[in-house]
């Protein structure tokens, strides 16, 4: 790897600018460096000296990197720049808690009005709990990626979303299986109530599985969208850093 490539990679690592913009910035810098070097060589400057002069003129120093960060910071970062970091973190946590409370209350109201919480499977509550954790993780990740523009480690926590989406469905399926075994035991003990118990059991388990799938689906869709988005921007970034030049 050339000294220039190393320098650009170190700029990439130290520049806290959201990814698509950081990619564009490095691509622009790379082109200008190459073009200026070529121009200086055409003017008769030896190639090593030409590269040195181009680097001095164009490669940002620490002060310039700071200016670039302030120009390219996300709107959220600009709006909250004056706030103390600890206070801001507290505010973000408060907002997350408020959003989750609103989601929980409206979700509980919806479930109650649909009659889902009447005679539920004991597994319904863990499924709903896991679903709420899944939504909280999705919210945090979406906030990091698209509002805060924090792309230092964009994939961090993303597999947690996939895992939690799967866990919600698995928990629902495990509940159905366990409830069914319990139901058959009850049916054996009270064959005269078989018709009533069987219909109530089918309704309960269908509801449990439906709730698990409905809760897991948005998480899975979020994972897919975020995963694809990160893959796209990272691929563009890698190509920009691979320096598709001579």
């Amino acid at each position: 790897m050339s000294a220039l490539s190393e320098r650009l990679r170190s700029i990439d690592a130290s520049l806290s600018v959201p990814l698509p913009r950081r990619t564009a910035l490095l691509r622009e810098l790379r082109y200008d460096l190459d073009a200026l070097t070529e121009e200086l060589i055409a003017q008769g400057v030896p190639s090593v000296e030409a590269r040195r002069r181009a680097t001095t003129a164009l490669v940002p120093d620490a002060g310039t990197l700071e200016s670039l960060e302030s120009v390219h910071a996300s709107r959220y970062r600009r709006a909250t720049a004056a706030l103390d970091v600890r206070r801001l973190r507290g505010l973000e946590r408060g907002l997350l808690a408020a959003a989750m409370t609103v989601a929980s209350v409206s979700g509980a109201t919806m479930l109650a009005s649909a009659g889902i919480t009447r005679d539920p499977s004991p597994f319904l509550w863990p499924v709903i709990g896991a679903g709420l954790v899944l939504y909280a993780v999705c919210l945090i990740k979406a906030f990091e990626l698209w509002i805060k523009g924090d792309h230092a480690k964009p994939r961090r926590g993303l597999w947690g979303v996939a895992f939690l989406s799967g866990a919600v469905v698995v928990l629902g399926a495990a509940g159905v299986l366990t409830d069914t075994i319990v139901l058959f035991g009850t049916l054996e003990a009270s064959p005269d109530l078989a018709g009533t118990l069987f219909m109530a059991g089918v309704r309960r388990e269908a509801t449990l599985m439906a709730v698990a799938i409905v809760l897991a689906l948005p998480g899975a869709v979020f994972w897919l969208v975020a995963h694809q988005w990160i893959a796209l921007v990272e691929d563009a970034h890698r190509r920009a850093l691979a320096f598709e030049s001579h």
Binding site: E28, A35, A57, D61, T64, S70, H72, E244
Partner: protein
């Protein structure tokens, strides 16, 4: 110009902005070409170092004074080209009078009373 609001450091930053805008008056250019033209047209007096050109370009782009667009060159290399917008042209014209006034006052101070500025 509001005298009590005059900020010397801000004026120095303003000069860089005006140099970039003035260079783009003749047509669109990419980053290094802007830097070279500023240096050539000022006979080496104004020179961008350590990438200081980029924050200026990107801020001007965000403010709508210049318009940046990507184009492909032979060999697949992509370059970003900047063009002056109508807003940028108006800003340049507006600030030119301001710079003229600042320079005139500076010369008046330097030259001393009764002496005509060179």
């Amino acid at each position: 110009m509001t005298d009590e609001n005059f900020d010397v450091q801000g004026f120095a930053r303003d000069i860089n902005v005006l140099l970039v805008l003035a260079t783009l008056r003749d047509g669109s250019k990419h980053g290094y070409q802007i830097a070279l033209d500023v240096e050539t047209e000022s006979s080496g007096l104004f020179r961008f170092r350590h990438g200081t050109l980029y924050p200026i370009l990107h801020r001007l782009e965000a403010e709508g004074f210049i318009d940046g667009s990507w184009s492909k060159e032979g060999g697949g290399r992509r370059k970003k080209v900047y063009a002056l917008t109508a807003g940028g042209r108006a800003h340049l014209e507006g600030r030119r009078a301001h710079v003229g006034e600042v320079v005139a006052r500076l010369l008046r101070v330097i030259s001393g009373p009764g002496e005509a500025p060179a």
